[in-house]
């Protein structure tokens, strides 16, 4: 997991590999730290994620709630076909903004 900060309150989080019951506590930890640091816009790049289960979805939902409560947002970028399918079958694609590219996500959040 690596993160980049295009603006003071915006952060891009790159996650990779398997996001499951073993690895998602680390993702949660990162999101909580960002919120505590005052980050309001989180863009999570999912393009390198190969496996995502309910615990990963739960952590992303938790992150989304936290950011929205702070007047911000958490959006998603570049899920592969398999990961996109998981958002669709759970209906979570209606809850999250899912973008094809980081540029698109940042433009939407007002960070060009």
């Amino acid at each position: 997991m690596t993160s980049r900060t295009p603006s003071e309150t915006t952060c891009i989080l790159d996650i990779a590999g398997e996001v499951d019951v073993y690895t998602s506590p680390q993702l949660k930890h990162d999101l909580v730290q960002m919120a505590e640091r005052g980050v309001k816009q989180v863009v999570v790049n999912l393009s390198q994620v190969e496996y995502l289960d309910s615990t990963g979805l739960g952590v992303l939902i938790g992150g989304l709630k936290r950011m929205r409560e702070a007047g911000g947002n958490l959006s998603l970028v570049g899920p592969g076909m398999r990961i996109q399918r998981i958002f669709e079958i759970t209906g979570l694609n209606k809850i999250f903004e899912i973008h094809a590219t980081e540029e698109e996500a940042l433009a939407k959040e007002g960070v060009a």
């Binding site: 398997e18 499951d20 019951v21 073993y22 998602s24 506590p25 949660k28 496996y51 289960d53 309910s54 615990t55 979805l57 739960g58 952590v59 939902i61 938790g62 709630k65 936290r66 398999r82 399918r85 998981i86 079958i89 759970t90």
Partner: protein, 147 residues
């Protein structure tokens, strides 16, 4: 009834896997299931669906176990018309009170992700049964072969 781990009824098309009921072993089960589901006439997406459903069943066991010592037994049976996978744990019903830190935080955030896991299993395979008793939980997942 959740079957006891010592009862084995294996036939020539059955694979049995027993793993520690802990987060770092769920990936081992997923890899084994990938190999087993690949023996069926399933599409790539169907194989992945089975893998995710079994991952959810194991995750559910791991979260209920918390730090208690337990094991998960996964018995997969291949037949011409279906793949049946039984995921049984020996997590005692009273151990479930020991909620993991992670599960507690998620619950505080209003996310019932065990519910999400159950939803995924229902969508991903054709039949799901869950039985719980004092000695543990047994989830049976069935995915039918294409006609």
């Amino acid at each position: 009834m959740a079957e006891s781990h010592s009862e084995t009824n294996l036939n020539s098309e059955t694979v049995q896997l027993i793993i520690p009921c802990r987060p770092e072993y769920v990936g081992v089960a997923r890899l084994a299931i990938l190999g087993i589901a690949s023996r069926m006439p399933f599409s790539y997406d169907e194989v992945e669906d089975v893998r995710l459903a079994v991952g959810e069943a194991c995750t559910h066991a791991v979260e209920r176990a918390g730090s208690a010592a337990a094991t998960i037994r996964i018995v997969s049976t291949i037949s011409a018309h279906a793949l049946k996978i039984e995921v049984s744990d020996d997590v005692a019903a009273d151990a479930v009170a020991t909620q993991s830190e992670e599960a507690r935080l998620l619950e505080e955030a209003g996310v019932d992700h065990q519910g999400l896991g159950a939803l995924l299993m229902e969508i991903l395979v054709d039949d799901v049964t869950v039985e719980t008793d004092a000695s543990g939980t047994r989830v049976v997942l069935t995915k039918y072969a294409p006609e």
